[in-house]
């Protein structure tokens, strides 16, 4: 087993994790980033992003109340986030943009601040159009410059406590060689930033599990670890997902310059009747399930229709914007298969549930309910976790953690006996090299989630059955799963984490006895007015007692 010591551990070297490491490093903290892949090209921002939601006073004016009101009522904030957190990312977004520009990220490809796409009618435009193609390597370089040590190819599997039950580190596996090695990292504070939950539900092509819009390496490990360690999760009953090309799942719907139409070219939302490079078409943002909903009502298929987009805008979209966004595989695909977007409409589909912005509850300092434990980005449950949210709350977490660790020097060592249970599990899995392959377990997990914690219709009976089936699957996995190398061990641990993460989803879904937004109950088909403006939270004590509660949106 390898052991490392630091003050602040960032789990996940995506946008949130790297920003936390940079901020904490600047304040003198001793930081380690543990990353499943390689921070230069990992996570949902691996190959770029092109929209940075932000408030730049010289462009948007000094009336911050207007900015809060506009962004707060847009889909980028949405009903399931706390306004007090939204205000933090709005207030600090320009600071991050300036920082990123200093790091060499191209925030002004045209030389001026340019806002394009995701435009809400009647509002100012807040999405800065930038070129994020090299963002991950720039952030990685800066994190190293600020003194962070980066441990790539390490999957963190669980959080560790000291003898008094306080957060004291994390355990995981180094998968860089064929034979895995257990890794223990002792520290005073931890940031969880492992991104989306990409593989909990069947993909749009169920036989191909890695065909997902966001990075398939993001598998809800943060939320699972946080839940097991007693941190509070929020909004786990509000299942959500993305939309995009069918059957080639890609994030980045906002990069398309076109309009959503039916097969005859007719639009069906009031937003745009003609393609607009300035605003884009927000149909897929505000109603990502429209493709599925319309199919079910016999109104499909539904398309991203770029046939009236100007040749200049099409060229820009395919050869500039999609490269900045890291989705130029679409450009390649069109070229290879002879798809001409000036005459061919691309059918869009609703992608499966990914639980973005559903997860760990944080406060304005990115603190969770567990002292010393922070979270940022897509794994958080009460604030926008996309680029700007991940960057701002990563930074906030790093700053706060640097202060926290200075005042927290009395964490006692982790008892080696506590490590043994993990070593035993890894050994068990590796010893069963002819045991059940992780894909068998992943298939059952996805099928159970899809049918029993469904995005369409839920009921107490179905949810109860799902809870029981998931317990059976978990028990079976601990008995049967086997792996023959590091890679398979990583994939197996991901599945075990997703099985654990199913528990708060099932319990919160069952406990919300009403129909509201994406939560549709056939046994409670009314909206309970007493729950207006409230979020459901859940946490589990180490003794297994689960607490669920409703609290007002803040």
């Amino acid at each position: 087993m390898k052991t490392y010591n630091c003050e602040f551990l960032c789990v996940g070297g995506g946008v949130g994790g790297l920003m936390a490491a940079i901020a904490a490093g600047k304040k003198g903290a001793d930081v380690i980033i543990a990353e499943k892949a390689d921070t230069r090209r990992s996570g949902s921002g691996a190959n770029g992003n092109d929209h940075f939601h932000c408030y730049i006073p010289e462009c948007h004016g000094t009336d911050t109340e207007r900015v809060y009101r506009e962004i707060g009522s847009s889909f980028d904030a949405g009903p399931w986030v706390d306004m007090e957190l939204t205000k933090v990312w709005i207030d600090r977004s320009f600071e991050v943009i300036q920082m990123w520009e200093d790091m060499g990220i191209n925030m002004r490809p045209t030389g001026v601040w340019k806002f394009e796409g995701h435009g809400m009618p009647g509002q100012q435009l807040y999405n800065l159009k930038f070129d994020g193609a090299l963002q991950k390597s720039c952030l990685t370089r800066e994190a190293k410059q600020q003194g962070a040590r980066i441990l790539n190819h390490i999957i963190i599997h669980d959080l560790l406590a000291d003898k008094d039950g306080r957060l004291a580190g994390a355990i995981g596996v180094d998968i860089s060689e064929e034979i895995p090695e257990t890794v223990m990292i002792q520290c005073e504070a931890v940031l969880l930033a492992t991104g989306m939950v990409s593989r909990m539900y069947p993909s749009i092509t169920p036989a191909y599990m890695f065909n997902t819009p966001c990075c398939p390496a993001t598998t809800g490990d943060a939320q699972a670890m946080a839940y097991r360690f007693g941190a509070r999760l929020v909004n786990m009953d509000m299942l959500n997902g993305h939309a995009g090309p069918k059957y080639f799942a890609r994030g980045g719907k906002g990069t398309w310059i076109g309009v959503s139409t039916d097969i005859r070219g007719n639009t069906f939302t009031p937003y745009n009747s003609k393609p607009s490079r300035a605003t884009g078409d927000i149909t897929a943002d505000v109603w990502p399930t429209c493709y599925r909903d319309r199919l079910k009502k016999g109104k499909g298929p539904t398309f991203m229709n770029c046939t009236e987009t100007s040749p200049e805008d099409l060229d820009y979209m395919l050869h500039t914007a999609m490269v900045s966004e890291g989705i130029d595989s679409i450009t390649d695909y069109c070229e290879h298969y002879g798809i001409d977007l000036s005459s061919d409409m691309v059918e869009f589909g609703t992608y499966p549930i990914m639980m973005g912005q559903r997860g760990i509850e944080i406060d304005t300092h990115a603190r969770t309910s567990v002292p010393g434990l922070y979270a940022a980005g897509n794994c958080t449950g009460n604030v926008n976790g996309s680029l700007c949210g991940a960057a701002v709350f990563g930074m906030t977490a790093g700053e706060d953690a640097a202060d926290y660790v200075k005042n927290t020097k009395d964490i006692s060592r982790i008892d080696p006996a506590d490590i043994q249970k993990y070593e035993d599990l890894y050994q068990d899995l590796l010893s069963r090299s002819d045991g059940a392959h992780w894909k068998e377990a992943a298939s059952s997990l996805q099928n159970i989630m899809n049918e029993y914690a469904s995005a369409d219709q839920q009921s107490e009976d179905m949810l109860n059955a799902g809870i029981e089936y998931m317990r059976q699957l978990k028990a079976n996995c601990y008995k049967e799963l086997g792996c023959s190398n590091s890679h398979e061990l990583m994939r197996s641990l991901e599945v075990l984490n997703m099985i654990d993460l199913s528990e708060p989803i099932f319990l919160c879904s069952r406990n919300r006895k009403e129909t509201r937004g994406p939560h549709v109950r056939c046994d409670y088909d009314f909206t309970d007015i007493t729950l207006n403006g409230k979020f459901q939270t859940i946490y589990k004590e180490r003794n297994g007692t689960v607490h669920m509660d409703y609290r007002y949106k803040r």
């Binding site: 892949a37 390689d38 190959n47 398309f303 130029d328 390649d332 298969y337 005459s343 061919d344």
Partner: protein, 76 residues
Amino acid sequence: MPPIIDVKKCKACGYCAEICPLDVLYLNKQIRKLIVRYPEECWHCKACVKDCPVNAISIRYPLSHMMLHFPKEGLK
């Protein structure tokens, strides 16, 4: 399946295997050969294509990931 390595160009430097977000690629150090080990786990993100120093990688987009498209003028 997905990434295709041009063995004539590949220098077996291992960089693509290091940065692949999905751990699809593997450098066999004994025989100094880059292997596409878990092709069905490829995200088609193109990181390997972009970062290979000698442009030895191309992507094949599988039939399973078909991008459905329909002519605006209707069925011909």
